[in-house]
């Protein structure tokens, strides 16, 4: 967004609570790599130039990538500037920060979708003797006591963490609710290559049947690894992870699981096969069948005949519970009435109801790829165009025009 605003000569600042790439530096576990291949992080005027386009960036590489981009575009970043409140003021906004206040005519909320772990209410009933972690506090298996671990949630985070904890010698039980299974590689190409090529990632928010639903679909069950491994439930079962249904509660020292595991897996297999059908159709229609491997289908997810419905935490020596149950944005500093009844910012493709306010980086904000680094470019181009026309309109029609820019230090 900063690059797009610069291109339009719109005076702006980027307020960063810590350092550039702060959440990548401070809120990620050690082994995490980006889920998208190197070639796919395309920012306006900036892309991958190394010799491993199909590799996946480690966290230090991701941090370096973002830091370098900030330098290349000379982004006007104010680091160690924590925003403490944003309020409407006149035809603009008053922004209080740990480094003084600002007044601006427009605000772009780009603080991310994953600020806080989303932990279900049943967490309150976890017995005190059990250690609990979230993906934000988790770093590596060495942090955990010896003994069993219950990982709750089987999307990208839960499956990756379950795998490395199991490999550390701590037996993992994985509670599986709704999830989206995809192979890392299909017909010799990365799944993200297919989704990009076939236009799946470019689908727009105003073209899908049910955008509320689309925005709540869990993250793809993917991992980035040098071997391009698929980390699906079958892969986890093979290394000894025990699959159980969605965690629904605790009673008498027992974790209780839903009896819906089989259907959750069936839904996910069906959804994956619909995606693969679409990819195959695209490949045929676009003359790719000769350039890639033949179409095939993956084994259905194996579910044992009667998965356990309960787990006696003491008897089964569960020492740790890790909540991989999603994240939510932290908008506690936003004091503008733009929230829906579930506390989400109301917006139309990133254009927030409050005039001059914009949102970036949330799942399916404007496109299926909106939450990817690769999705920022198109969204920023669209939203900066909207922002520029909003300012133009204000310049000619409002008394605010004499400020002469989009912000003014108080």
């Amino acid at each position: 967004m900063s690059r797009c605003l610069t291109d339009r000569s719109i005076d702006h600042v980027v307020l960063e609570r810590g350092e550039v790439a702060n959440s990548w530096k401070t809120e990620r576990w050690d082994s995490l790599r980006l889920l998208t291949p190197n070639w796919q992080s395309r920012l306006p005027g900036y892309g991958y130039e190394g010799d491993e386009p199909d590799g996946f960036r480690t966290m230090p590489e991701t941090i370096e990538f973002i830091e370098r981009y900030a330098r290349v575009i000379s982004a006007p970043v104010r680091t160690h500037t924590q925003v403490t409140s944003v309020r409407s003021r006149g035809e603009g906004y008053e922004i209080a920060t740990s480094q003084g206040d600002w007044h601006s005519r427009t605000v772009v909320l780009a603080s991310g979708a994953c600020n806080l772990p989303l932990v279900p209410a049943v967490a309150e009933a976890v017995p005190r003797t059990i250690a609990t972690l979230t993906p934000i506090s988790y770093r590596n298996p060495a942090q955990l006591e010896e003994g069993g671990v219950l990982v709750v949630g089987a999307s990208a985070t839960g499956t990756q963490i379950a795998e490395e904890i199991q490999r550390s010698g701590r037996p993992v039980t994985l509670a599986v609710g709704e999830h989206v299974r995809v192979p890392r590689v299909y017909r010799g190409r990365d799944i993200k290559w297919w989704m990009d090529a076939a236009g799946v990632l470019d689908e727009r928010y105003d073209q899908v049947d049910d955008i509320v639903r689309a925005r709540n679909v869990p993250s793809l069950q993917l991992a980035g690894s040098p071997e391009r491994r698929t980390v699906d439930l079958n892969a986890l079962t093979r290394i000894g992870v025990k699959l159980v249904g969605r965690l629904v509660g605790f009673q008498d020292g027992k974790a209780q699981f839903s009896g819906s595991l089989r259907n959750q897996c069936a839904l996910s297999d069906l959804k994956m096969n619909r995606l693969l059908d679409r990819i195959d159709q695209w490949a045929t229609e676009n003359g790719f069948d000769d350039k890639v491997g033949p179409p095939h289908r993956f084994e259905p997810t194996e579910v044992e005949a009667s998965p356990p419905l309960g787990l006696d935490l003491a008897r089964d020596r569960i020492r740790t519970i890790l909540w991989a149950t999603g994240f939510r944005p932290d908008t506690s500093w936003l004091h503008v009435p733009v929230f829906d009844r579930k506390g989400r910012v109301r917006h139309d493709g990133g254009v927030v109801e409050a005039p001059g306010m914009y949102l970036m980086g949330l799942p399916f904000l404007r496109r299926r790829k909106s939450s990817l680094i690769d999705g920022a470019a198109d969204d920023a181009r669209d939203l900066s165009a909207h922002l520029a026309s909003y300012l133009d309109h204000q310049m000619c029609c409002s008394a605010d025009a004499f400020y002469g820019g989009s912000k003014r230090p108080l």
Binding site: Q256, A266, L267, L270, R341
Partner: protein
């Protein structure tokens, strides 16, 4: 030869359901329902339950007629077998709920159903209810539902309808997840 496509009709008013969904998204308080039944003991293990009134869309509602469901136990339980067992009614409830879901999802996806039948079987070790072994639960140890569906659809589409029906089924949820039950005597 030109063919005309007959509109899909499974007897489900999808437009009304979609309309209700939109309306209730705007006014979620209307979505709060209360389902009710009353039950009178007849004799022995025989009881009679009636269902008439419920609450929803912000007000008291009622069925067009009062429905009656009797329950009893079979003769091998030394009962008179005047009616099905309560656990069999649970299976009927699950089948009714999933099958209504199949019809609705098929209608939504514009798939014409020709026939749908389901067979249900639930295992139970009655050492639980007889108090012989406290390690054995009272309820089912599992339920198997088998559908036979004839429809204008591929096997994969039919599988997807049945999976979606489970995902949206109230009785499936009630059976697969714990529910707090409060029983009082007044």
């Amino acid at each position: 030869m030109a063919t005309t496509k007959t509109p899909v009709d499974n007897g489900v008013n999808v437009q009304a359901l979609l309309g209700a969904r939109e309306a209730l998204r705007e006014a979620p308080e209307g979505a709060q329902f209360k389902w009710r039944a009353t039950c009178k003991w007849v004799y022995g293990t025989h009881s009679r339950s009636t269902i008439k009134r419920f609450f929803g869309l912000g007000q008291e509602q009622e069925h067009k007629t009062e429905f009656t469901f009797e329950t009893d136990h079979p003769e091998i339980f030394a009962s008179e077998d005047k009616a099905a067992t309560p656990v069999e009614l649970v299976l009927a409830g699950l089948a009714g709920c999933l099958t209504a879901g199949v019809a609705s999802v098929a209608q939504m996806r514009e798939i014409q159903l020709r026939s749908v039948s389901a067979t249900l079987e639930a295992g139970m070790d009655i050492q639980g209810i007889l108090g012989i072994d406290s390690d054995v639960r009272n309820g089912f140890d599992g339920i198997k539902v088998t559908y036979h569906i004839d429809a204008d659809a591929t096997p994969k589409e039919i599988e997807a309808i049945v999976a979606q029906s489970q995902k949206r089924s109230a009785v499936y949820d009630i059976i697969t997840n714990p529910t707090n039950v409060t029983v009082e005597v007044v």
